[in-house]
C-alpha cells in the first residue's frame, strides 16, 4: 500500500515540503460585490470561497437567544476532487463540518449591550477544489469574510492542521497525507489570547504525541494570522485609496 513515504528519509514530504512547512497560501477579500463580506483562499490546491451576509435582522424572533445567530452552509463542489461526486447536498459529514464552523465562530463575535446581539449572520462556504485541509481553509476564509463584512470579532480565528508520522509532526497536510492514515489534528486558535476554539482530530493519535502535534499546529496558526493580517491590511489600504 505504501507507494511513497509520507516523509522520506531525506526529510522531504511527497510534495517536496519539509515537515514544518505550510503550503503556498494566497488570499483575497471582497471577491463578491453582492455579499456583505467575502473572501477567497488558496492553500496549495485547496480552494475555498466564502460569502457572508449580515449581520441582519433575524428572520424569526429568537428572544431567548443570547448573541447573534450564525447560519453556516458548507458545500463541497462536485468538481472539487478527481472523482466526481454528485449527491453531496444532504451529506451528514458536510452538516457536521458546518456545525463545527458555527460553534467555532459563535463565541468570537462581539455583541455589546445591544450591538448585533439579536442579529443573524449567514455564512456560505464553498470548497471549489479539495486537496486536504478543507476545514482549516474554510475557517481562515470565513475569518477574512467576516472581517470584510464588518462583523465585530474579538480576534482572528486562525486554523491549521497538523499530523504525526513516525517520529515527526507534519504541518498542513495535503490530501495524499490525510488519506494515508496520518492522524490529523485541526486547531482553531485565537492568536491574541492564545485560546483554542476548535480542536478536531481524525483517526487516533497517541496521547504522548499530542502535545507536539498541537504545538506545531499552533505555530501554523500563528503564521496563518500574519498572512490573514497582511491581507486585511492590504485590502483596507486599497479601500482607503478608492474611498479618498
Amino acid at each position: 500500500m505504501s507507494r511513497f513515504d509520507i516523509v522520506s528519509p531525506e526529510g522531504l514530504r511527497v510534495d517536496g515540503r519539509r515537515p514544518p512547512e505550510l503550503r503556498r497560501l494566497s488570499c483575497r477579500t471582497g471577491v463578491f460585490a453582492q455579499a456583505d463580506g467575502s473572501a477567497y483562499i488558496e492553500q496549495g490546491n485547496t480552494k475555498c470561497l466564502v460569502a457572508v451576509y449580515g449581520p441582519r435582522e433575524p428572520s424569526k424572533r429568537l428572544l431567548t437567544e443570547k448573541g447573534p445567530t450564525i447560519n453556516v452552509e458548507y458545500n463541497v463542489a462536485s468538481f472539487s476532487s478527481g472523482e466526481r461526486k454528485t449527491k453531496m447536498r444532504k451529506d451528514r459529514r458536510l452538516m457536521e463540518i458546518a456545525s463545527v464552523i458555527k460553534q467555532t465562530f459563535e463565541p468570537i463575535i462581539c455583541y455589546g449591550q445591544n450591538v448585533a446581539s439579536r442579529s443573524e449572520i449567514d455564512v456560505n462556504i464553498q470548497i471549489l477544489q479539495l486537496d486536504g485541509g478543507a476545514l482549516h481553509a474554510a475557517i481562515n476564509a470565513t475569518t477574512l469574510a467576516m472581517i470584510d463584512a464588518g462583523v465585530p470579532m474579538r480576534d482572528f480565528v486562525c486554523a491549521c492542521s497538523a499530523g504525526w508520522y513516525k517520529d515527526t509532526a507534519l504541518l498542513d497536510l495535503n490530501h495524499l497525507e490525510e488519506s494515508a492514515d496520518v492522524p490529523t489534528l485541526t486547531v482553531g486558535l485565537l492568536p491574541k489570547s492564545g485560546k483554542v476554539t476548535l480542536l478536531s482530530l481524525e483517526s487516533r493519535l497517541h496521547l504522548d504525541k499530542f502535545q507536539s502535534v498541537l504545538e506545531l499546529a499552533s505555530q501554523g496558526c500563528e503564521r496563518m494570522r500574519d498572512e490573514l493580517d497582511s491581507t486585511i491590511r492590504k485590502a483596507t489600504q486599497e479601500l482607503a485609496k478608492t474611498a479618498l
Binding site: 522520506s8 528519509p9 511527497v14 517536496g16 512547512e21 478527481g82 486537496d131 483517526s203 497517541h206
Partner: protein, 984 residues
C-alpha cells in the same frame, strides 16, 4: 527554506482519475559532498572518505548509478568496493516502483554510514528538476533527469572532483557522452577496480545474447504485458503463483479461479513450464481436454536425471532427458483422474531471490584457472532449476556453499543465467549448513542491532519489580503458590499455573503468562524487529530469538523465586471442570517452583506429598483430564507426528543418538490449560475488537484430501470417516490392528498430513462461522500463551490489555484492519518458514547421524507411486523414497505398477500401503561423489526383490544408484496446536 515555485503534475491512475499534485522545488537541496563551498549550510553529507581514482577515471570521483544498474547489479553495489555513491531521487522512485525488495536493500546501504551512499533529491531541487517534454516517454524523461543531475554535479564540483554516471543503457550512455559527461558500463567500471578482482564475477549478465548456443534449446516466446492483461480479462488466461512439486522438478501447478471455480491447474514438462521458476506469478492458458494429464505418481529428481544426461554423450543428452521425462508422461490413468492442465504463456512477476547451493563439479573445466568460464549451479531448493553462472574462480568454488542470484532466462537458453554473489563456507560444515538453512528459509538471524538493544530496560540484569511503579493497575499474586512446568533446560518460561480450592468447593485456576508487552512498546525499534522476526526459531543446535535474550530468558521469563510481571487469566471452575467465571488481569507473581515435566510427574505420582505446590498440580491434573474429556467429546483430534530428539555430546557437532520424543501426563496438563487460556482470551478480544482481533483458525480439510487415505485404510479392513472432526476422531480411535500396534499411530501421522494449515487472521476479514478451529474443535482460538517466542501472542496481549481497560492510551495500530491483515500474512509466512527451518535442521542432523553408517531398520510404506514408494521409519521419524528401479529408465524395474489397487507388483513380492518392510539407510554426502545435496539413501532389504534389494554391506559398497532413493525428513509433520504450544 524557500518554496520557490509550485505547479501541477497530472497522473492517471486506475479508472482515469486526474490527480493534481503540488510539487515544490527548493533551493536547499545540497550536494552532500563534504567541504563543498557552495553548499556550506548543509548538515548531512557523505562521510569523509576520500573519493577514489581509477585507471578509467584519474580524477577523484563519485559514482552515480542509474535505475537499471541498481536493479540488476544490486549484488555488485552491495559489495564493499562501492563507496561514495550518489543515489538520485528519480532512481529511488523508479526502483521502488519496480522492486520493493531491491529498494529496501538500497535503503539499507544508504543507512549505513560506512558505505557513503548519499541521496540527492534531484526532483525537488530547483536546479535539477526537468519537466517531461512533449512525446517524451517517462523512461526517457527519467534518463534525462539523471543526466541533468550528473551534469549539475559536475558543474557544481568544478572539475576538481567528478561524478561518474554508471549505466548499462547504451542509448543513455551515448547521450551522456555526447553531452560531455563521464559515463561507463558497469562491467567497464568494475574491471577498472583493480583491488577487487572477485567483483567481476558478481556482475549480472543482463542482456547478453546467444549465451547457450550449443544447446540450441528454444522456449516459446512469452507474451507481452498487454497481451497477458487482455487474456486475463477475457478469461483466456489464468493467473497464479507457480508451485513446483517437491518430487518432480518438471511438474508445476497453480491455484487459480477457472470459470468461477477454484482449482489446481497442472503444468507439466519443460516446454509448458516455459521458464517459470518456483514462486513466479504466471499467466496460464488451459490446454484442450484431450491434452490433460493425470497427476504423475513418479519422483524425478533433476539432479539424478541431469547427472545421467551429462554422463552420457553430451550430444545425445536431450534424448536421454526426453526418455526420463517421458517416464512421467506415460498416460495410463483412466479419464476421470485427469487433472486440468495448462501451459505458461507469460510471466507476470518474477519472484527470484538469491539461492544457496553448490557448483556442479562436472561442469567445471580444468586448466582454465583465472579464466572466465560458465559453470552450473545447483540450488538447495530442489524446485529451482540449475543455474548457469560465469565465474573466474570455478576451481575454488567447488565444494563450497555459495549464493547465486538469477539474472534472466532468455528463450534460447535451456537454463537460467545467474551470477555469483558470495561464498558461505565449506559444504558439510555445521555452521555453514545452518547458515544455509536459515538463509533458505528467510529467517532473519543477524544479531540484534544496537538501536534495538537501546530499548531494553536501562537497569539490565538488575531490573526488578518496583511496587510503586509496577503495582498500579496490577493484582498482587505473589502470595499464590504458582509454579511453571517446562521441558528440561528451558530458559524462556512463558507460562506458569496455579490452582486452589475455594471455600464454596469450586477451584480457582490461574494461568500466568509473561508480560512481554510491558517491555516491548508498540512501534519502537525492538517491537519492529520482533515483528519482522515473527517467531523464535528452534534449530537442533541453536535458537534464533525473537526478542533479545535479556528479556526472553531473564526479565520476562517467569523464573522461580523472583518477582515477575505477568498477564493472568483466572477462572473459577467447578470440580467437574465447568467454567463458572473468568477474569483477566495484569499481575505480579512469584513462581514457587520451576519444574520439568519429569519433576512435575514425580510430584503427581507421589501420594505422600502434600505441599501447596504439589496439591495445586494434583488439582490441575484432575481438572485437565476432565477438560480434555470435554474437548474430545466436542470432537478435538488427537493426531500424531514422529518427533525425535537428538542426544548430543557436549561440544560436538554430531549427534550420538536419536530418540523419539515422549509425552507425559504433565505435558497434557500444561497443554490443556494453555488451550483454555487461548480460547477464553480469543473470546474476550473478539468481543471488544470484533473487527481487528488477531485470531487463529484451522479450516476444515476438504474431503478430497482424505480420498487416498480412506481407500488405503479400507484395504486394511478399517474405516475412516472424515465427515466431521468428531467422526474422524472416533474412527481414528477405532483404527487399531492388534497385531500391528504402530498402525494406529501411522494412520494418525498420515491424517495429520491431510490437514490444512492453521493460520492467523484478522477477525474483521473472515465471516464468523469460519473462525472454527478444526483440530481443537473450538469456535474461536488465538495464541496468547507464548509472547516471548511468538509475535502474535504479543499482539494479543496488547489487544487484551486494551480490552480490559488496562491500557487506555493504545493507538490506532490495534484497530486498523488493513494493517492487522498484513501483519497476519507476515506472521503466517514467518511461522511456516520457522517450522520448515527446524525441520531442515533436524534433517541436517539426521544426515550427520547416519554419516558413515548403514542402518537396517523397520519401516512402513506410506505412499506408493509408479516408480517407487515412500517409507516411514518410526525409529528415527524419517521418511524416505525407495525407487523401484535400479536406473531411472522405467523398463528396468522389477515391479509393475497396478494403478487400481495402488500396488507395486514384482514376481517375488508386492509393495502396498502400510506394509511393513525392512530398509537400509545410509547417507550420500554432498560435495562427495556428484551429489549436490547431502541426502539419505534408503534401499529395500526385506522383502527381497531380485535386482533391487541387496544386503546392506553390498549396498554400502555399491556406488551409484541401484535401487536407492532420496529420503526426506518429516520429523514433526504438520502443525498440531497443543503440542506445539509447549514445544521448547
Amino acid at each position: 527554506m524557500l518554496k520557490s515555485r509550485a505547479f501541477v503534475r497530472k497522473t492517471k491512475r486506475g479508472n482515469v482519475i486526474k490527480v493534481v499534485k503540488e510539487h515544490y522545488l527548493r533551493d536547499d537541496i545540497y550536494c552532500g559532498i563534504p567541504g563543498c563551498p557552495r553548499c556550506a549550510s548543509q548538515t548531512t553529507t557523505i562521510t569523509q572518505t576520500p573519493p577514489r581514482t581509477t585507471k578509467l577515471v584519474p580524477t577523484p570521483h563519485y559514482v552515480l548509478p542509474d535505475t537499471n544498474v541498481l536493479y540488476h547489479q544490486i549484488d555488485v553495489m552491495e559489495h564493499a568496493a562501492f563507496v561514495n555513491v550518489i543515489i538520485l531521487q528519480t532512481v529511488l522512485e523508479e526502483l521502488r516502483h519496480r522492486s520493493k525488495p531491491v529498494y529496501d536493500r538500497v535503503r539499507a546501504l544508504i543507512a549505513e554510514p560506512a558505505r557513503s551512499f548519499y541521496v540527492f533529491s534531484n526532483e525537488h531541487s530547483r536546479e535539477t528538476y526537468i519537466e517531461r517534454q512533449k512525446d517524451e516517454s517517462p523512461n526517457d524523461r527519467n534518463d534525462r533527469a539523471i543526466r541533468t543531475a550528473t551534469r549539475w554535479y559536475n558543474e557544481h564540483l568544478g572539475g576538481a572532483r567528478k561524478v561518474v554516471l554508471i549505466t548499462d543503457d547504451g542509448d543513455n550512455r551515448r547521450k551522456a557522452l555526447g553531452e560531455g559527461l563521464p559515463a561507463f558500463h558497469v562491467r567497464q567500471y568494475v574491471e577498472s577496480l583493480a583491488d577487487y578482482p572477485e567483483l567481476i564475477d558478481m556482475v549480472a549478465n543482463v542482456a547478453e545474447e546467444d549465451i547457450d548456443a550449443e544447446s540450441r534449446y528454444t522456449y516459446p516466446e512469452h507474451l507481452s504485458k498487454s497481451q497477458i492483461l487482455a487474456g486475463l480479462k477475457s478469461g483466456a488466461f489464468h493467473q497464479g503463483t507457480l508451485n513446483i512439486s517437491q518430487h518432480n522438478y518438471l511438474e508445476g501447478s497453480i491455484f487459480a479461479k477457472v470459470n468461477g471455480e477454484e482449482m489446481t491447474v497442472m503444468i507439466l514438462g519443460r516446454e509448458h513450464l516455459n521458464r517459470g521458476v518456483q514462486g513466479d506469478i504466471v499467466a496460464v492458458q488451459m490446454l484442450p481436454k484431450s491434452e490433460w494429464k493425470a497427476a504423475v505418481s513418479v519422483v524425478i529428481d533433476e539432479e539424478d536425471v541431469e547427472k545421467e544426461d551429462e554422463e552420457a554423450k553430451p550430444t545425445t543428452a536431450p534424448d536421454e532427458v526426453a526418455a526420463a521425462e517421458s517416464a512421467m508422461e506415460v498416460d495410463s490413468a483412466p479419464v476421470e483422474e485427469l487433472k486440468p492442465t495448462g501451459r505458461i504463456v507469460g510471466i507476470i512477476k518474477r519472484n527470484w531471490r538469491a539461492y544457496c547451493g553448490t557448483i556442479d563439479k562436472t561442469s567445471v573445466r580444468e586448466g582454465q584457472a583465472g579464466g572466465m568460464q560458465p559453470v552450473f549451479f545447483w540450488a538447495m531448493d530442489r524446485r529451482i532449476p540449475k543455474i548457469r553462472i560465469r565465474t573466474r574462480q570455478a576451481a575454488t568454488l567447488c565444494g563450497q556453499r555459495v549464493v547465486v542470484a538469477i539474472d534472466g532466462w532468455p528463450k534460447n537458453a535451456r537454463y537460467p543465467q545467474g551470477h555469483y554473489v558470495r561464498t558461505l563456507g565449506a559444504v558439510g560444515d555445521a555452521a555453514t549448513e545452518t547458515e544455509v538453512l536459515l538463509l533458505e528459509h528467510d529467517v532473519p538471524f543477524a544479531p540484534f542491532s544496537p538501536l534495538v538493544l537501546s530499548f531494553l530496560p536501562v537497569e539490565g540484569e538488575k531490573w526488578e519489580v518496583d511496587d510503586e511503579k509496577h503495582l498500579h493497575g496490577r493484582e498482587d499474586f505473589r502470595g499464590l503458590d504458582i509454579c511453571s512446568i517446562d521441558p528440561p533446560g528451558c530458559t524462556d518460561i512463558d507460562d506458569a499455573l496455579h490452582a486452589r480450592k475455594l471455600p464454596n468447593g469450586n477451584y480457582e485456576v490461574g494461568v500466568h503468562i509473561a508480560d512481554v508487552s510491558n517491555f516491548v512498546k508498540p512501534e519502537n525499534a525492538m517491537d519492529l524487529e520482533a515483528q519482522r522476526r515473527g517467531t523464535t526459531v528452534y534449530l537442533v543446535d541453536k535458537r534464533i530469538d525473537m526478542l533479545p535474550s535479556l528479556l526472553g530468558t531473564n526479565l520476562c521469563s517467569l523464573r522461580s523465586n523472583v518477582d515477575r510481571l505477568a498477564f493472568s487469566c483466572i477462572w473459577e471452575v467447578t470440580p467437574d471442570a465447568k467454567v463458572k467465571d473468568v477474569r483477566y488481569t495484569k499481575s505480579v507473581i512469584r513462581s514457587k517452583a520451576s519444574l520439568t515435566y519429569d519433576a512435575a510427574q514425580a510430584r503427581l505420582d507421589d501420594p505422600n506429598l502434600d505441599d501447596p505446590v504439589t496439591l495445586g498440580i494434583k488439582a490441575l491434573n484432575m481438572l485437565a483430564k476432565k477438560l480434555r474429556a470435554q474437548r474430545i467429546e466436542r470432537g478435538a483430534l488427537t493426531l500424531a507426528s514422529p518427533e525425535i530428539r537428538f542426544k548430543m555430546e557436549n561440544d560436538q557437532q554430531d549427534p550420538v543418538d536419536v530418540e523419539m520424543k515422549e509425552l507425559k501426563e504433565t505435558n497434557a496438563l500444561v497443554e490443556e490449560f494453555m488451550l483454555l487460556a487461548n480460547i477464553y482470551v480469543a473470546k474476550k478480544i473478539q468481543s471488544v475488537f470484533p473487527e481487528s482481533s488477531m485470531l487463529r483458525r484451522h479450516p476444515r480439510p476438504p474431503p478430497s484430501n482424505f480420498e487416498t487415505l480412506t481407500k488405503a485404510v479400507g484395504e486394511l479392513g478399517l474405516t475412516l470417516d472424515p465427515s466431521t472432526s468428531k467422526t474422524l476422531a472416533d474412527s481414528l480411535d477405532r483404527c487399531v490392528l492388534p497385531e500391528e500396534p504402530y498402525i494406529n499411530k501411522l494412520i494418525r501421522i498420515m491424517t495429520t498430513r491431510c490437514m490444512m494449515q492453521a493460520v492467523y487472521f484478522c477477525s474483521g476479514t473472515v465471516p464468523e462461522q469460519e473462525f472454527w478451529h478444526y483440530g481443537l474443535a473450538s469456535e474461536i482460538y488465538t495464541h496468547f500463551t507464548s509472547p516471548i517466542r511468538r509475535y502474535a501472542d504479543l499482539v494479543v496481549h496488547r489487544l487484551l490489555a486494551a480490552a480490559i481497560g488496562y491500557d487506555k492510551g493504545y493507538s490506532s495500530e490495534l484497530t486498523d484492519k488493513v494493517k492487522a491483515t498484513e501483519m497476519c500474512n507476515v506472521l503466517n509466512y514467518r511461522h511456516r518458514m520457522a517450522q520448515q527451518a527446524s525441520r531442515s535442521s533436524v534433517e541436517l542432523f539426521t544426515n550427520r547421524y547416519f554419516k558413515g553408517k548403514v542402518v537396517e531398520e523397520e519401516a512402513y510404506v506410506i505412499r506408493v507411486m509408479k516408480n517407487g514408494f515412500s517409507v516411514l521409519i518410526p525409529r528415527y521419524g524419517i521418511e524416505g523414497y525407495v525407487y523401484a528401479s535400479p536406473t531411472s529408465s522405467p523398463s528396468a524395474s522389477p515391479f509393475t505398477y497396478d494403478a487400481d489397487t495402488n500396488r507395486l507388483v514384482a514376481p517375488s513380492a508386492t509393495i502396498q500401503l502400510f506394509m511393513k518392510v525392512t530398509v537400509a539407510v545410509t547417507v550420500e554426502e554432498a560435495g562427495q561423489a556428484a551429489a549436490q545435496r547431502s541426502k539419505l539413501v534408503v534401499r529395500l532389504v526385506k522383502p527381497f526383490v531380485e535386482g533391487l534389494s541387496g544386503t546392506p554391506e553390498e549396498a554400502a559398497k555399491k556406488d551409484g544408484k541401484a535401487g536407492v532413493g532420496s529420503a526426506r525428513l518429516r520429523a514433526g509433520a504438520d502443525e498440531r496446536e497443543g503440542k506445539r504450544a509447549k514445544r521448547k
